[in-house]
Symmetry: C2
Subunit: 246 residues, 2 copies
DNA sequence: TACAATTTGTGCGTATGTATA
DNA sequence: ATATACATACGCACAAATTGT
């Protein structure tokens, strides 16, 4: 594991040793060899197998910790991060009360179907031409009131059977993606617009037609930056708001 | 600098050595001894003055790097982070074109005055009862069109003379806060609502009354989490949008 | 251009402390 | 109590980038 040192190319392909180790560890996570929630070998064991010092291996692992890929616990070991728990949920759920208090959403699925992807979806999700998508529609209630209407678009090949498999979809979909389909949402790209409610949106959210709404266009990405999900949310900010801590 | 090791209290006040060093360095930055842009002593020098190993001091510095407090450059040294440059600007300016392309805003100040703080402002900015605030109103243009209307509220005691000092305010106010008033904006808390444009907003942004707008309520905080600025922005998302990468 | 001094980056090794099972 | 695994702290050697001579 010292190829770069033995052959210190000046080419832009050079990477420090700990980065090479990091990539190797990341690869074993991405291939599913180490699935979310499982513990990976100890520092000493990994350092031995890769023939590097413990310090170098620690540096690689700490990089993965900073990227929320693994979680380390003194005395226990290092495990691959999961997306259950409130912390992970609220990382991607940014709607809360105006005072900043978070509240749990309750989802009501309105429909799910498989259909041919539009040209835009093919491009945004990186699908094969003429590929199919799963399209889920739902509303989400906060504090007992419908606040969000969502359209969720997924690659049908990557999420085979999702359109019917669990009779009741959980409201934390990303956990399902990870556990059932090995797709971990690592990042998301959101763009927010203000729009006026049309008739169907007004009806779904129980507000007046023409009322101002937030429209959130989200692309969810995995650790490699590949698009996993496209999501279009419409939010009524009568009693709630979008929150962003920078 | 080994008080904690010589006296390893089990009390919750315990902190590892590198965290103590980090706090000491942070303090010297906050007091202004090391102002933004200046270079601090080298690793070796600091390790010597604090009587710790270079590795421990490096760990403290790397923590500060992760929090964007200092910047390290191989061969040069370690400097206190500044808020000039596009990177720092776009960290707190999240309005861009719908395709994700960033564009530079142009500010037009409409008015600035000093007035008594409202009860809400006293609470949110942590002011003394009956304290005064500086109130700045401006519009911001993107691609030649007025897109944002902003009300900016500052503690008058902390920003003495800002209401008149620079005849023309720069459009990157946070840089001014840091350079002229020693107030570094480290974080911000934003809450976003959808509203309908009232008559004055419609006129300022050149849109129809009742058109949907984004309303952004921002509290800007320093490294200690103390409120520096309160800002109320109203954004037309006809040709632009709010962007958030999670 | 070449060289040296300074400073951070990388990598190795070791010892000890602390949390967990 | 013991073993395991991560956390902290120390020290050293060399590489790479920057600056000035």
């Amino acid at each position: 594991m010292n190829e770069a040192l033995q052959n210190p190319q000046k080419a832009p392909t050079f990477q420090p040793l700990y980065m090479q180790i990091k990539d190797l560890l990341m690869e074993r996570i991405n291939t599913g060899e180490w699935s979310p929630g499982t513990f990976i070998p100890s520092e000493a064991a990994l350092a031995s197998t890769y023939q590097v010092s413990v310090g170098t291996l620690r540096k690689a692992l700490n990089e993965l910790v900073a990227e929320n890929v693994v979680v380390r616990q003194q005395g226990k070991g290092t495990s691959v991060a999961t997306h259950d728990g409130d912390h992970a949920l609220f990382r991607f759920f940014n709607i809360c009360r105006p005072d900043g208090e978070r509240c749990l959403p309750v989802s009501i699925v309105l429909g799910r179907k498989v259909r041919k992807a539009t040209a835009q979806e093919v491009q945004e999700l990186g699908l094969a031409p003429g590929g199919k998508v799963i399209h889920i529609s739902r509303t989400r209630e906060l504090d007992g009131k419908p606040v969000i209407y969502e359209d969720i678009i997924l690659c049908a090949d990557r999420f085979i059977g999702l359109e019917r498999q669990p009779e009741v979809l959980p409201n934390t979909l990303y956990r399902l993606y990870q556990q059932r389909f090995g797709a971990t949402v690592a990042h998301a790209d959101e763009r927010i617009f203000a729009i006026s409610a049309d008739a169907s949106q007004a009806q779904a959210l129980g507000i007046a037609t023409g009322a101002p709404l937030l429209q959130i266009v989200r692309t969810a990405l995995d650790y490699q930056g590949r698009a996993i999900e496209k999501r279009l949310s419409v939010v009524s900010t009568q009693g709630h708001c979008y929150i962003n801590r920078i």
